[in-house]
């Protein structure tokens, strides 16, 4: 930034630099203040407060919150403790969902975006249709599909029956079908979002590059891997990161469609944490779990960035 020039101009070269810098700082903080106040109260402070809570047995309905040090964290690594099995099962559920959903949430929108990138009539109509489910919201989507996929009363199984296929598939009742349902519904709900972003990224790739590749004799697939994918890199990084985090934070679909069932098999980490903290009233254990989840996601995100960066070298 052309700092020294501005400072000398504003100060007229007569006022001492420090005072001008001080006033600049004040101005800057005035700009920052509205954001920082809310940020401090609802982001910074809770982060610290949460750690504090995790060091206690904290039942909000009782007045006594005994300090237990790192016991809540130790319990999460001690087989046989109250929270060990359930927590790792829920982390497993989160892991399964992330691994199962992210590839589809990337590949399908990418494929659609490639198709939409061709010169087609009504491209914006298609885009609008694909985006519509996201606008409807997670509850409408979940409630609708809970009905369509009902094993006894839903249309999906009824149609399968008409086609002579097994018509009693427990879409919302048993695993692994419940996972298939959850992934499928999430893709249906959000494919428009990723498609639209990837399409914009595709449009930003210089068509000359494709021309050059054609002249080199590259076929469609080669062009895709050597022009499209590299050209999409920055957008793809963004989309991958956002999709990963969104999948790891999946709550609504599981809550509304499978209620974490069967048993607790589709209960994601977030569902378990929220339940422990706000329903079972074990806030100490729940906050400890949330920090552990954070650690996991941080590692995954760092790995993600590393991988992306290495690929660009």
């Amino acid at each position: 930034m052309a700092d020294p020039a501005i400072v000398t101009r504003l100060g007229g070269g007569l006022r001492p630099r420090r005072a001008a810098a001080g006033r600049r700082t004040l101005t800057a903080y005035l700009f920052l203040a509205p954001f920082l106040v809310i940020f401090a109260v609802f982001v910074v402070f809770p982060a610290v407060y949460g750690l504090w809570i995790s060091l206690h047995v904290w039942n909000p309905l009782l007045d006594d919150h005994p300090f237990v040090g790192l016991q809540n964290f130790f319990d999460l690594f001690t087989p046989g403790s109250l929270t060990f099995e359930d927590f790792w099962e829920s982390m497993g559920a989160t892991g399964i969902f992330v691994v199962a959903s992210v590839p589809f949430l990337l590949a399908i929108p990418l494929g659609i975006a490639v198709l939409l990138n061709r010169k087609i009539k009504g491209g914006s109509v298609f885009r609008g249709i694909f985006f519509a489910p996201y606008v409807l919201g997670v509850a409408v989507v979940s409630v609708l599909w809970r009905y369509l996929l009902d094993p006894q009363l839903g249309v999906v199984n009824a149609v399968l029956g008409l086609l002579g296929l097994p018509s009693d598939i427990p879409w919302t009742v048993d695993v692994p079908w419940a996972w298939i349902s959850l992934v499928g519904i999430t893709v249906w709900w959000t494919l428009g979002l990723n498609t639209v972003i990837l399409l914009a990224g595709l449009k930003g790739i210089n068509p000359d590059l494709y021309e050059a590749a054609s002249l080199d004799g590259a076929g469609a697939w080669r062009k895709f891997t050597s022009v499209t994918l590299p050209g999409l890199r920055p957008v793809m990084t963004f989309v991958v990161t956002v999709t990963l985090l969104a999948s790891a934070n999946m709550f609504g679909q599981s809550f509304l469609i499978t209620q974490g069932g069967p048993g607790t098999a589709t209960r994601t980490a977030i569902m378990y944490i929220a339940n422990q903290g706000l329903v079972q009233n074990q806030m100490g254990a729940a906050t400890a779990m949330s920090y552990l989840l954070f650690a996991f996601l941080a590692v995954v995100s760092v790995l993600n960035f590393r991988l992306q960066r290495d690929n660009t070298k």
Binding site: P34, I38, F42, A248
Partner: protein, 303 residues
Amino acid sequence: MSTVTTPTVTAPAPATAATAPAAPARTRKRRRRAPNVLTYAVLFLISFIIVVPLLWMLLTSFKTDFDAISSPASPWPNPFTTEAYGTLATGNLPILRWFANSVIAATAQTAIILVTASAAAYALARLEFRGKKIVFGAIVATLLVPGVVFLIPNYLIVDSFGWLDSLWAIIVPGSAGAFGVFFLRQFFISLPNEIEEAARVDGAGDFRIFWQIILPLSRPALATLAVLSFLTNWNDFIWPIYVLLSPENLTLQPGLSVLQGTYSTHFGIVMAGAVIASVPVLILFTLAQKQIVESVASSGVKG
């Protein structure tokens, strides 16, 4: 950011097309992936997969409970009835009120985000000050922290303010997201310095520069952030579920959860509720579709 150079790159392309000899231009046009039947087929198939369930939802809302249970394979109501809507109208689930709450909350939060994030981003992008690295570092660090870490502490904080069961709890806590600041800062940095410097030479102070120069130039980015923030708040589910209690204070997403719980397998009624929740949104979306989709599209490109 490679994408910032996009405007300058596409400009020369038509120029080269014009100067190139006739034959290669014709070749290029043919090579520009002419859409074939397969492309349209796939796009239509996907549209079908999206539209049909929504139509099914609409049709089921006109079925009786018994019909919805007993003939799942047939979309056509037999008999056609509006009793599901009648039950909802006389029941005590205020769906339209939920819709209004969601609109109010999403709009208010978006407004707060636009104001606070733009000001903060401006300071971080354009001003030098003590502690800048710390502040920016702190904000960026929270980008990776999953929301669930804040869930329980914020519940207690919101409770201590007396905001439980009120829209304030839905509006304020989420309005300090790091994404908005980060996103706008990126954008502000990409704006050329010259305009600002010229203004300073004319004696304009920081605030005037921000208000009269930077912001007007940032309309597309602000629009993007507005749309994304609105949709995020609209879709928020886990926080309102725990923080809103009385039926009339719910927003749409937890409200529909209550609807499903209340009417369980009375699918005609549940679908009717879902339809009521969808129609206004779809109407708004259809009207503003181009704007919304393009705003979202540019979020990835600029981000």
